[in-house]
């Protein structure tokens, strides 16, 4: 385990060094991604500034939901960027090269083309600080919510990573998974950027029960922000993330054993 982490760290740094060879692109893309996530958040903010609240969720609360998810995703995509890009490895046969190494394939894959998501991290932290300080000033939440929020972000990162890994594993059977990722990663994540209660029952069911991304922010948010549920919500959140992670690892391993390398 320790040596695995060290290996990952080494590959991670090498990946960063590669990226730094193109310094302009690195900073340009960081600034651009910050602009994109700020503009995306503006859409939600504009609506809430104009209409006050959405299904009883204030701008500060919605900001918390939004930024917690942004930060979880930024962690997931920083730590495991190419899990999301597995399709190109499957199509080009580049996965072969990773299989030739005496380290786990997942470690090798995760440390490829690392991109530090400065933009999203910056946007996420900014929105989170503004939202939480407003909520603390109003006395809705206390200082304890800060460590709880960190806990939720980390658990959410694991959850999003697991959803990504499960979808990526499907690639061993389907090869082309961009469309599937569009549903499980992009659409599902966009959905939980907003309070889940605005959706009809069937969609809420999907977001909590089938692709449980609702547990990345909304469900734990019910406890952290509003005390609507008991404290058990937090272990449940972490438990779901851990369970999905275990399942994803299992499916991933099974998928690798079924891998049909392409090319002649």
């Amino acid at each position: 385990m320790m040596s695995g982490l060290r290996m990952y760290g080494l590959l991670f740094r090498a990946s960063i060094r590669s990226r730094m060879q193109y310094r302009f692109n690195f900073w340009f893309s960081s600034v651009m991604s910050a602009v994109i996530s700020i503009v995306e958040f503006l859409m939600l903010a504009v609506i809430l500034l104009k209409f006050g609240h959405i299904k009883g969720w204030s701008l500060a609360e919605a900001g918390w939901l939004y930024s917690v998810l942004s930060l979880s995703r930024a962690i997931y995509r920083t730590v495991a960027n190419d899990v999301h890009n597995i399709e190109s490895y499957l199509v080009s046969g580049d996965l072969d090269g990773l299989l030739l190494r005496p380290i786990p394939v997942l470690t090798a894959l995760m440390s490829r083309n690392v991109s530090i998501r400065f933009g999203e991290v910056f946007q996420g932290i900014a929105v989170l600080v503004v939202s939480m300080s407003a909520l603390i000033r109003e006395g809705q939440i206390g200082w304890l919510s800060i460590p709880l929020t960190v806990f939720v972000i980390i658990s959410g990162a694991l959850l999003l990573f697991s959803v990504g890994l499960l979808t990526a594993s499907a690639g061993f059977w389907l090869t082309r998974i961009t469309e599937l990722q569009n549903i499980t990663e992009d659409a599902a994540r966009t959905a939980v950027q907003y309070p889940v209660s605005i959706y009809p029952r069937w969609l809420q069911g999907i977001l909590v029960g089938i692709i449980p991304v609702g547990f990345a922010n909304y469900m734990p948010g019910l406890f952290v922000l509003r005390g609507d549920t008991g404290w058990w919500m937090l272990p449940l959140t972490a438990g779901i993330a851990a369970a999905l992670f275990t399942l994803a690892l299992f499916v991933w391993r099974f998928g690798i054993s079924r891998y049909q390398s392409t090319g002649s």
């Binding site: 060290r6 590669s18 072969d96 030739l100 389907l174």
Partner: protein, 330 residues
């Protein structure tokens, strides 16, 4: 001696879903379809390779070469049959086998594209758990052997193809593997670079004592490097033996071109009576071309026969081209 690589009744078939019949939502129906076509890429292949052998593994495109190599390397799981690398099963013990294996894909580099060559070696050394002291010694040794010094600190993307191939070769050898798989190591190189890579490969086999399995489409590679050739075609083994045996087995004739002082006097049709050993192919003025089966008749005997038709001025013999030998096999 215990064999280094054993392959027993190895088979691999690929399943791909059968495209659904034409009509709306065809793609979606294909995705859901339960009907498959089976394609047998490799069928019942057997061979074993002793330590220190240099074996060429050849066959036309799509014959199953890459599939076999990928199964040997633990990338693909065989449908049936067994593979052992130094007694280990590459699928169950992928990571242990990876330590004993060096692999070079001529078509794609395993080095970190944007980093200096040296950095790739540092990363690989860490992956294979080589300590600093041993790593430095090893890199110096390889840099000497493959002459890497001049571009050790150059990013890989700026290397010429020949340099990149040498750097990749060193990467494959860094962890001192017992077995080396080379896939098209000379592809795209110019004549000079090809020759130097072949020299390196030769010394890697002789001096470092590595067992080498080489797949290539360049028959000069095979002819100059390999002590043994295995031919695969349509998924099954077609031949396994030395190059000379391969030549003999195919029995392509040696061409003898004889120039006489005067136009040769040919006897009538019965000349080709024992056509199995010597056959007159063509007469053009004073020059006569004959095809001679060296299995059945020696060169001297053939010349003695040809002397009957006139005074010989000049003789030119042509051994069959290896390229052609292989061609008849495919």
């Amino acid at each position: 001696m215990k064999p280094m690589i054993t392959v027993h009744q190895l088979s691999k078939s690929f399943r791909s879903p059968l495209p659904a019949p034409e009509g709306p939502f065809r793609g979606l129906r294909t995705l859901m379809s339960r009907q498959y076509t089976e394609k047998e890429a490799v069928r019942g292949v057997n061979f074993s390779i002793a330590p220190g052998e240099f074996v060429g593994y050849i066959g036309p495109n799509g014959a199953g070469k890459s599939t076999t190599i990928k199964m040997l390397a633990g990338i693909l799981h065989p449908t049936s049959g067994e593979v052992r690398i130094d007694g280990l099963n590459p699928h169950r013990d992928r990571r242990q086998v990876a330590r004993r294996l060096g692999v070079l894909f001529g078509q794609r580099t395993q080095l970190w594209w944007d980093l200096p060559v040296r950095d790739s070696y540092d990363i690989l050394a860490a992956m294979y758990g080589i300590d600093a002291e041993r790593k430095d010694a090893r890199i110096n040794e390889l840099a000497d052997l493959l002459q890497l010094g001049e571009f050790m600190d150059t990013p890989v993307r700026k290397l010429s193809l020949g340099q990149r191939m040498r750097a990749d070769l060193a990467a494959a050898l860094l962890h001192d593997p017992d077995v080396l798989f080379l896939d098209e190591p000379t592809i795209g190189l110019d004549v000079v670079a090809k020759r130097s890579i072949r020299e390196y490969l030769h010394s890697i086999n002789i001096e470092l004592g590595k067992t080498v399995l080489l797949t290539t489409h360049d028959m000069d590679d095979i002819e100059q490097l390999c002590s043994r050739v295995i031919v695969i075609n349509r998924g099954t083994l077609g031949f396994d033996g030395t190059i000379d045996e391969l030549r003999r087995r195919i029995g392509l004739p040696t061409l003898i071109r004889v120039t006489y002082r005067q136009a040769p006097v040919l006897p009538s049709a019965e000349i080709n009576e024992n056509a199995t050993s010597l056959r007159l192919a063509e007469v053009d003025g004073r020059t006569l071309t004959a095809e001679c089966n060296r299995e059945a008749i020696s060169a001297m005997e053939a010349l003695r026969l040809l002397e009957q038709y006139g005074d010989i001025e000049d003789v030119h013999m042509e051994e069959p081209h290896f390229e052609d030998v292989i061609h008849t096999l495919y």
